[in-house]
């Protein structure tokens, strides 16, 4: 097994038995970006949460394996698993305002993880935080370390979360819609920054997004999800040139582009929905046998 992160036949369900993820398999190599796309409720974010072990209480992993650098996370004792995840993986969340503690200064919010979980000295952690803030192009890092989140713009806050995610040199980063709350011009800067940092640090990146435009700018490979099931796995370029699954093609046809004003905007048709729904039912039938 070569991939850094390898998810195999992962099933997640509500405690009541309702399936949320249906036999999801995917691989992300070191230095690669894998995008998870789909409409809301498709389970994109849940894959990231399952890897990080932060699934909502109502959900449980019912079967499958999550291999991280040759270790099956689901076979580990929860405490060991948390330790491993804390040391090797990180999250870039969607909303930079709720992800930062409004009552604490920026500095300690970046260094805390290094000091508390990884046992760094306070001085080393602070030096590292200053370097990272400079790396994500934050002017005057020393001053920003002393500010509170509300004093910074959305773009600045997202830069801080990116710096914070890369602080402990994680091997895997999960970015959950990291630019959805930002303006297009800021989004462009942030996407570039993430891609830049990811390449420089040779990180495996799992990128959750609903925006196919963003996918074409950041990812090497992708999975298209519908109702918690992967309907298509593809290399990025091939996906946009020749989507194989009708649902993938329908998603592309529903996405407006300003360069094609005359192209008709087609909602996903009932026939396509029926087709994927049937695939989902067939999967559930196989799984219940």
């Amino acid at each position: 097994m070569s991939a850094y992160l390898s998810i195999r036949n992962l099933c997640v369900a509500l405690k009541t038995g309702t399936p949320i993820l249906r036999s999801v398999s995917l691989n992300v190599d070191a230095g690669q970006v894998h995008a998870l796309v789909g409409e809301s409720g498709a389970g994109k974010s849940m894959i990231g949460k399952a890897v990080l072990g932060t699934l909502p209480r109502a959900l449980t992993v019912t079967s499958g394996e999550i291999w991280l650098d040759g270790v099956n996370l689901l076979a580990l004792h929860p405490a060991n698993r948390r330790k491993l995840i804390g040391a090797t993986a990180a999250l870039i969340p969607q909303d930079p305002l709720t992800a930062l503690n409004p009552s604490k200064r920026i500095g300690p919010q970046i260094t805390r993880r290094l000091v508390d979980i990884l046992g760094w000295s306070k001085r080393d952690a602070e030096a590292r935080a200053l370097d990272l803030l400079a790396e994500v192009h934050i002017p005057d890092p020393a001053r920003v370390m002393r500010t509170y989140p509300h004093e910074l713009s959305g773009g600045m806050r997202q830069r801080i979360l990116i710096a914070s995610a890369f602080a402990a040199e994680p091997k895997l980063i999960i970015a959950d819609e990291p630019t959805t709350a930002l303006d297009v011009t800021v989004q462009k800067q942030i996407l570039r920054l993430i891609a830049d940092m990811q390449a420089r640090h040779n990180t495996a990146l799992l990128f959750v997004t609903h925006d196919l435009g963003v996918v074409s700018k950041v990812s090497d490979t992708l999975s298209v999800l519908y109702a918690g099931k992967v309907v298509e796995d593809a290399r990025m370029r091939r996906f946009f040139m020749r989507p194989i699954h009708p649902y993938s093609a329908a998603l592309l046809a529903a996405t407006p582009t300003y360069t094609d004003p005359t192209g008709s905007l087609t909602p996903v048709s009932d026939a396509v929905i029926e087709l994927v729904e049937r695939e989902v039912r067939e999967h559930d039938l196989r799984a219940s046998r």
């Binding site: 297009v184 462009k188 946009f240 040139m241 329908a250 529903a254 582009t257 905007l265 909602p267």
Partner: protein, 264 residues
Amino acid sequence: MMYEVRDLHLSLPDMTRKPLLGAAPRIEILKGITFDLPKGAVMGIVGGSGSGKSTLGRAMLRLLEPTGGSVHFNGTDITHLPEDTLRGMRQQFQMIFQDPMSSLNPRRRVGGIIAGPLRLHRMDNVPTRVNEALDMVGLPRSFAQRYPHELSGGQRQRVGIARAIALRPAFILADEIVSGLDVSSQAQVLNLLEELVRELGLTLAFISHDLSVIRRLCDRVLVLHHGEVVEAGTTEAIFEAPQAEYTRTLLDAIPLPDPDQRWG
């Protein structure tokens, strides 16, 4: 002209800098905006967050009172009209909101939500008008009995549209109404809006940060930046030959679903 807006200024108190005693300093949101919106036109209003898009929309509907300049609606100066005079006119200019979950009363059924403004404006045949509105937005009449939480995001947004068009307004302001929707529901809502504009002869102002959506729907565009119009013109001119630096920056920043797009 549906709207004639001249040198519109609007400032609001900046409560984050209010001293303990005394008045808050005022912050200027709109800094002299001028444009005409002809009847039957569909105008896109674009700009980054904080550019004043929504404030401009609210000033046009007189949900906010301008601090300078003037707004004429259908030939009437509404800039400083008192609320009781305005109330009689409000049926003519309506709004559709961004987030249907928070703009639809969760404790009322869809029928009641659509009927509310009709009763307020003392219109006759309310039940018939509610049914007609549901027909027009492509929802089954039985949906009148449902609550907002029983509907999908796209269906809820259709209820928001039905509530606005039930009054048969001449003008509708749509403020980021598809930004919370998945692409498939977004395509449905945009197609519906296009159809309604054509059939009802509506004039529409469509606020959005998404230039791809604007290009698809609008025939003219107003680009705002820091409370000023940086560029205005037909959709074709703005997209094919943008003049303002800021417009070009905005266009360049859009990630197209195309692996060959050169992202300067």
